[in-house]
């Protein structure tokens, strides 16, 4: 190589003029196309087309200086690039040594994977999202136990005091910031699913004012520690179904076994759970737990109990690392990251399940919600647009797109999940 570099004659050539002209023409074509597209979008939104297209300002998250510094990094782009890289097919004979090296570095238990032959995994992405052999994760036999949803480390747990969750010692964030405000008036469904406000519009109902919402909430909601819940209809059957339109395609229907089992479990309570949720009642409290999945862990998550998912909220957010180090140093990390908030109920009342994305992982998959797209450029653009529209209306942007699962089960008004049932997972990129 040294000889070749030293002895090879370097000869410079002029770039052909045609190539330069072609490049400039391509740039001009791109500019014109962008301008026309912007004008069309503006017209579709009902506004006058702008004479000169204005670049949409990127919505930056609020936060301390660490967040501002990290916001300058293209973390989502890096995550997508990392995902694409990991989807490249690895040469057949490099797969076994490559995956064994990865397993050695990150502590993967290869013998637990459903596939003994590592050649089966064409790339790191498929190996990362591997399945386990049946029976290697037995469920705790106690039906009153709350199960771990994933392999990982329990970073924090406890009781929520005053609406605050402790990220690490002395560093808290508000539960509303994590799960979203209770009134999704400014939310927009980027995936085309219906939102409550959209539903009202379709049915010709007027939009409720804040006072009317309050009156309505007295009838249909109970509130504890700042979180509101729809009253359960499962104990009274379909007759009490709320007459509003639901998400059209929730593709994966819950199995009849799940529905019957979850319904039976929810009905096991000595009395309706909502009777415990009066303002004066102190019989229940809100608890939280944070489970961290390291890169070598099995990256699918399972239902911790029998429960019904009523709605999901997708916060596009950013994709910071969620490593224990950053959790210690970055306040409110979980409220900044991209996350999918699944809201519902279990036998004892409110239940929520929040997978939080990370730079090195990226996508969150929910098996029963095929319309959900996380770590997506389209979603980002839709979120930016929704923020702009909310700002134009003079309203605060809730920051999430919401969909409901009521159509999945007319009896339970949500998607029923059995304890231990696989719900989804984290994928690379």
């Amino acid at each position: 190589l040294r000889t070749a570099l030293r002895n090879t004659k370097v000869q410079w050539y002029q770039i052909p003029v045609g190539l330069g002209i072609g490049f400039l023409g391509l740039v001009q074509f791109y500019k014109v196309s962008s301008r026309e597209k912007e004008a069309q979008e503006q017209a579709a939104r009902g506004g006058e087309p702008e004479s000169r297209p204005k670049k949409r300002p990127r919505i930056r998250p609020d936060g301390p200086w660490q967040v501002q510094v990290m916001s300058t990094l293209p973390l989502k782009a890096l995550s997508r690039l990392w995902g694409r890289f990991n989807e490249l097919t690895i040469p057949y004979y490099l797969r076994v040594p490559g995956f064994k090296l990865y397993s050695w570095v990150f502590g993967v238990k290869i013998h637990e994977a459903s596939e003994d032959d590592l050649h089966v995994y064409p790339n790191l992405a498929s190996f990362f999202y591997r399945q386990l052999k049946p029976g290697v994760r037995p469920l705790d036999p106690d039906p009153h136990a709350l199960l771990s949803p994933a392999d990982g480390v329990v970073l924090q747990f406890g009781q929520i005091e005053g609406g605050d969750i402790e990220q690490v010692k002395g560093m808290t964030y508000n539960i509303d910031a994590l799960l979203g405000e209770t009134t999704p008036s400014t939310s927009r469904s980027s995936s085309g699913l219906s939102t409550p406000s959209d539903n009202q519009a379709r049915h010709g109902e007027k939009t409720l004012t804040a006072e009317e919402e309050l009156v309505k909430s007295d009838e249909e909601f109970a509130r504890v520690n700042g979180i509101s819940y729809t009253l359960p209809n499962l104990l009274s059957g379909p007759a009490m179904a709320q007459p509003h339109e639901e998400a059209t395609d929730q593709s994966v229907k819950p199995s009849p076994v799940s529905v019957s089992e979850v319904r039976a479990d929810l009905a096991l309570g000595e009395k309706p759970w909502y009777s415990l949720l009066s303002h004066e009642s102190s019989k229940t409290a809100l608890y939280y737990a944070v489970v961290y999945l390291s890169p070598g862990d099995y990256h699918r998550f399972h239902s911790p109990t029998n429960w019904v998912v009523e709605r999901r909220r997708h916060f596009a957010g950013e994709l910071y690392s969620v490593s224990p180090y950053l959790q210690r140093t970055l306040p409110g990390l979980f409220t900044l990251n991209e996350r999918v908030v699944l809201l519902g109920r279990w036998r004892y009342g409110f239940f929520s399940f929040v997978p939080v994305g990370a730079t090195n992982v990226g996508s969150i998959v929910v098996n029963f919600d095929r319309e959900l797209r996380t770590n997506s450029l389209t979603t980002d653009t839709a979120a930016d647009r929704a923020a702009e529209e909310a700002a134009a209306r003079g309203e605060p942007y809730s920051g999430f797109a919401e969909a409901t699962y009521e159509a999945a089960s007319p009896v339970l008004h949500g998607h029923a999940l059995r304890r231990g049932e696989e719900m989804g997972g984290f994928q690379l990129g």
């Binding site: 990982g152 489970v291 911790p304 979980f334």
Partner: protein, 49 residues
């Protein structure tokens, strides 16, 4: 990646007469069965009621 669970559960009440089912002789409510920093696996109990 991280998973955050937020849920409502009965509060453990002090009941000296009852057998202790949680820390501090509390009974009847939710109590944790893990420690901070503990490794857990799918299906393992985080807590019980």
């Amino acid at each position: 990646s991280t998973i955050v669970l937020v849920f409502e559960a009965p509060v453990a009440r002090a009941d000296p007469g009852a057998p202790a089912s949680g820390a501090g002789g509390e009974a009847g409510g939710f109590h944790w069965q893990v420690e901070k920093g503990q490794k857990v696996q799918v299906g393992q109990a985080l807590g019980r009621i």
